[in-house]
Amino acid sequence: MNKQLLLGAEAIALGALDAGISGVYAYPGTPSTEITEYIQKNHADRIPPVRSSWSANEKTAYEAALGMSYAGKRSLVCMKHVGLNVAADAFINSAITGVNGGLVVAVADDPSMHSSQNEQDSRVYGKFAMLPVLEPSSQQDLYNAAREAFKLSESVQLPVLLRLTTRLAHSRAGVERTSAQPQNPLHALYAPERFVLIPQNARRQYNLLLGKQKDLEQLSEQSWLNRLVTGTGSTGVIAFGIAFNYTMEVRQAFALDFPVLQIGQYPLPRKQVESLFTSCDTILVAEEGYPVYEELLRGYFGGDNIRGRMDGTLPRAGELNADTIARGLGIEPKAVFTVPDIVVNRPPSLCKGCGHRDLYAALTKVMSSFAEHHVFSDIGCYTLGALEPFNAIHTCVDMGASITMAKGAADAGLRPAVAVIGDSTFTHSGMTGLLDAINDGSPLTVIIADNDTTAMTGGQQSSATGSRLLNICRGLGIEEQHLRTIIPLKSNLEENIRVLKEEIPYEGVSVVIAQRECVETAARKKRSKVSGT
């Protein structure tokens, strides 16, 4: 058995390991988490071992990866799509500096928002930064592409964006490895003309980047990731990334023979696209994500013979599947049964015995005594406090926004202003917001729900918990008497209500840290202790 069964995310990880990376940098985020986790579990036999612990956020991760590349080694940086917003400053500017050792940015998008607050398409960032983007459609192709992306990165001296989407990230298939290659030697680059982005350097570097675009397009024309499946008929499909799988599924299931141009590397291979347009009357553009290239092609070729997400042939929002593609080609799928009326939704909920439950029990009780009871919250398991039966929080926008939105509302005069944020989200993007609030003396209570882990994504190491969180708050300037800790347990309800009642009306910044380990993490630790592993 020379194949191993890997998630798409894991296939990228193994490809990167076999390409000789010296480090991976990441902050956990569904559906990208398993890339880094795989490397953490499988790097020990690499020489030297691959650096792989979690970063505080995507920006620090990206910059560290760029630094490793500067030093001549290959590095991988991974994140979910919204994480690229956090890392965008570093990402865009790294296209201007270029790289030394190969730098690959693996970004997992989440169309249909299975576990995200939007379905932004990272290919737009790729175009924006004018970088090569790879979008393979199978686990094996992900492995191969991840390997080759480092070589590509070094040959064009640019970061390479490797894009995948939820279904591929979280689907297993057999993957065959090729032999691993050694890590690069340390060869740090003195190249201030590239890496010091003062205007005169930046302008020259930017012109160099512009000058590379023709070469990048040429590479796309030759890439194995872009290929034509020949066929007959007047309708052709341009299938991007995973849309290729769904298109081929329909072609096979309904015994059709239309031509399919698979796109897995950008910039768009213009010649291949033109040739499909010449041979077909109608083109269906199937993209998993935004109609990024459909819009471009409509501008270029005119819209009359183009079908896709923009004219309603395919749904404008959400992920594709074989059924949406079939309908887009005028074929009604074979479904015969419907969901019985008695079937009700089963939304996710906080675990039984979770400390967040007890925190919200106390908080909701206290807030009910105020005329205005807005609670600004953040991203993590505790976001589930927005649902029944808690209905305890009223915002969740982006990592760290609880504190800063509460501050802004407090500045506007809202009383009380309360923020709930987790330990990992606080160290990701909450600390700077708290500093703003302290500098302004904004009347605000920040509750840090410290469960000692990054729970929602499966219990990864959090950057700072426990006493370190207290010390961070002290260092930022929280007054000692308004830095409180509680233990969110049922038996502590009265005590916790008392503490919150004392701090919430305070006309300055107070922090209440609710400390209790995640029940899942605790159970996992117990299990591993029992089995002795």
């Binding site: 988490t33 689907s171 298939a173 074989a322 015969v336 049964f337 419907t338 019985p340 079937v343 089963r346």
Partner: protein
Amino acid sequence: MQSNIILAGVGGQGILTIAAVIDRAALQSGLTIRQTEVHGMSQRGGAVQSHLRISDKEIYSDLIPEGAADLILSVEPLEALRYMPFLAPDGRIITSIDPFINIENYPSIEDILAELHRTNRPVLVNATELAREAGNAKTSNMVMLGAASRYIGIDEKQLEAAIGELFHGKGSAIVAVNIKAFRKGQELSQTQATET
């Protein structure tokens, strides 16, 4: 051969363990596999599903198209019904009849069973009871795998061997109880098949 299976349940009920056993057996049988999973927010007590496809030919889509599932294998009766649009006209539901009630508006079990009986020769399994008989209530997912094993398209011996390998690290007692649970499910399914 090609087999399209929807695995269904509630986050934490162990459908990914069922998937792991089938994956392993399929890989050893030299078959092609695609198997999706749900990670992230839904894992917290929400509805979860896995699309599992095995074939001796190339498989393109990771997701099973509507009307193309040969089996819905569910460890929870309400969850079995949720994926009905995926079921092929001659497809079959194999489900545990033990409800997992973590929502207030959970329908009556009688209504659920009535809907299940309307489908094509369903295999309904008292999984928790059989798992207890096997020696551990937590093995009900292996009871369910056993109940489905004759319909999966892989040699049942191969599936049993895969259970042994998967649980190997947890000691021989754990392996034995899981295999016993698997066989309990097999027997029940065998009996139901001969009765109808």
